[in-house]
Amino acid sequence: METSEPLLDVRDLAVHFPIKRGLVLDRTVGHVYAVDGVSLHIGRGETYGLVGESGCGKSTLGRAILRLVDLTTGQVTFDGVDVAQLKGEQLRTMRRRFQMVFQDPMSSLDPRQSVESLLTEGMKAHGLSRGPAADGARLRELVDSVGLPAGALRRYPHEFSGGQRQRIGIARALSVEPDLIVADEPVSALDVSVQAQVLNLLGRLQSELGLTYLVIAHDLAVVRHVSDRVGVMYLGGLVEEAPSQELYDDPQHPYTRALLSAVPVPDPELEDHRERILLTGDLPSPAAPPAGCRFHTRCPWRQPTRCDDERPALRVIAGAPAGHRVACHFAEDIRSGRLQPHRVDVEAVDDVLAPGAVPDLPGSVTEILGR
């Protein structure tokens, strides 16, 4: 899969949101460490899945790659160009090549614009318009490729069902002929029976148009299904990265194991005999991430001192394939079974600053931005 140089190369990306307080002085009283040191690369034509629970920073990472939020530090190299340094017109032009598909198709489509106008807006902005006749043909081709009838062009977003709206969102992203599509929870707002339609559509478009995807979702089953490689995030950092089948067959990070064991499977036989790793407690606040390994407060395999003091880096452990990286000091011992899980007592997650100053408990960026 890693043929030539990657299409997207992210190095040490961090996004810290300041927490401000005070009416006049507007002091910064702390930071939400939404993304804190993530490095990953995505090859051409590949689908990279990012999975994690709310508040882990996966959406922020996706938005930072597209420069929809400002990076605190780090590099984002897209096709050889450092996107993080781009400004103004250069950035605008570059944006044609990476597009986003949002979670909620109702709030990401302007209700007052017809589908035709939604789809031509981007084409015009990027100078892809080639006169009315050619545009008309292009639009019909677009709606056809996402499985909508040509008559859809004259209609408005509210006239469509959720699944169809998501198709419009995908058509809009495709209208400017991008190379990379970042899909943030593309199916989580849809009904189960419709999710499969949209997932199949994304797969078909990829093989037809040679697209590269970054799929962000909380649903591990969805992510694993569509992705070639999967990265698991916890509190702003990647804890494990592996080809998707490998991740399921041989999860190495304790968090990945817990996540995999927590996903319900629609099979009673399996459900009855599954071994579950139940995590205790909640996600710590990203405004005060634990020192050392971020997962140590909930980890059933935590070992004294090293886990609390030293933040593990992503590495390949002995005996694992090169594409499988894990950020755990004791991954070898856990894998061989030399370390056994122990009980974890729930620590009441305490408010970091004064109550109310910070979204005092796990707040995802989606929530914070929605407020």
Partner: protein
């Protein structure tokens, strides 16, 4: 076997002036035995939540027409007066909702919201109620329960709020608990905690549980009998092992094949169900699922399928998936 709850021919219609009624739930019948875990599964708009609200008598009085019967201990809940129903709600049957933030009062501390139930139904007061509330919070796994009694809902995380809501629902040891998508708003690791807690509490207290969810995975691990709803009617019912091993209704069958499974090899094309619920036909003279059904035959768009029970399985279909197909 005597049932704890008998729902018979429940129909809920929303009425509007000068417009045809919208029938949300149509002829739903099922039993819940004491201590049994029963699942109601379906997608949005299938009537699963309306069914639970009708059982709890929580639908608004105006603009809604409810018919059929909901018997608990021989009494039809639908015929009780408002105050008689209030006396039962929380004591005999109670409910856990999907979104704990909007079902807890944001300006009242958690402790008061738990003691409210204890005061009303068990006549507890003062320190005794507070003590009992703290024990309840501890029982549902809230750390440091004494301190949390004084917390407001916004100071708790989503999982903790859901635990608090469960504590309130279980405060009077009801014999029936209805959980409407109790884990949908939660992350998977927290979902696993809450589901574990629910099944543990149900086992311990002997309460029956009606689990309402869209997630077949949740049902697979938890419910003994599973009812699959589509367009307001039960289209298939069976014990969970049988239902998942040999789904007979094309909708159940399609649903199971369309979800990406964690244990399946990735990258395969999913077998999607075509169309969406807006394509539904009215049940009055057809099968609602017919336009989306891969097995639809002519009869499906002309005759309403009736629910037939054989060998412990209820099925409402003209052309079901053969039992040995796989």
């Amino acid at each position: 076997m005597t049932a704890l709850l008998e729902v018979r021919d429940l129909q809920v219609a929303f009425t509007r002036r000068r417009e045809p009624d919208t029938v949300a739930v149509d002829g739903v019948s099922f039993d819940v035995a004491p201590g049994q875990v029963v699942g109601l599964v379906g997608e949005s708009g299938c009537g699963k939540s309306v069914t639970s609200l009708a059982i709890m008598r929580l639908l608004p009085a105006r603009g809604v027409r409810v018919s059929g019967s909901v018997r608990m201990d021989g009494t039809d809940l639908l015929t009780l007066s408002g105050s008689e129903m209030r006396a039962r709600r929380g004591r005999d049957l109670s409910m856990v909702f999907q979104d704990p933030l909007s079902s807890l009062n944001p300006v009242i501390p958690i402790g008061l919201q738990v003691t409210e139930v204890l005061r009303r139904h068990r006549g507890m007061a003062g320190d005794k109620a507070r003590q009992a509330a703290a024990e309840l919070l501890e029982r549902v796994g809230i750390p440091d329960p004494r301190r949390r009694l004084d917390s407001y809902p916004h100071q708790l995380s989503g999982g903790m709020r859901q635990r608090a809501l469960i504590a309130i629902a279980l405060a009077c040891q009801p014999r029936l608990l209805i959980a409407d998508e109790p884990t949908t708003a939660l992350d998977v690791t927290i979902q696993a905690q809450i589901l574990g807690l629910l099944s543990e509490l149900v086992r311990e207290t002997g309460a029956a549980l009606i689990m309402i969810t869209h997630d077949l995975g949740v049902v697979a691990g938890l419910c003994e009998a599973v009812n699959v709803l589509y367009g307001g009617r039960i289209v298939e019912r069976a014990q969970r092992h049988r239902l998942f091993a040999t789904p007979r209704h094309p909708y159940t069958h399609g649903l199971l094949r369309s979800i990406p499974r964690l244990d399946a090899p990735p990258g395969e094309e999913l077998e999607a169900i075509r169309g969406s619920v807006v394509d539904n036909l009215p049940w009055a003279h057809a099968c609602a699922f017919a336009p989306r059904c891969p097995r639809a035959i002519e009869t499906c768009t002309e005759v309403t399928p009736v629910a037939e029970t054989s060998g412990g399985r209820l099925l409402r279909c003209h052309n079901p998936v053969p039992a040995n197909a796989e």
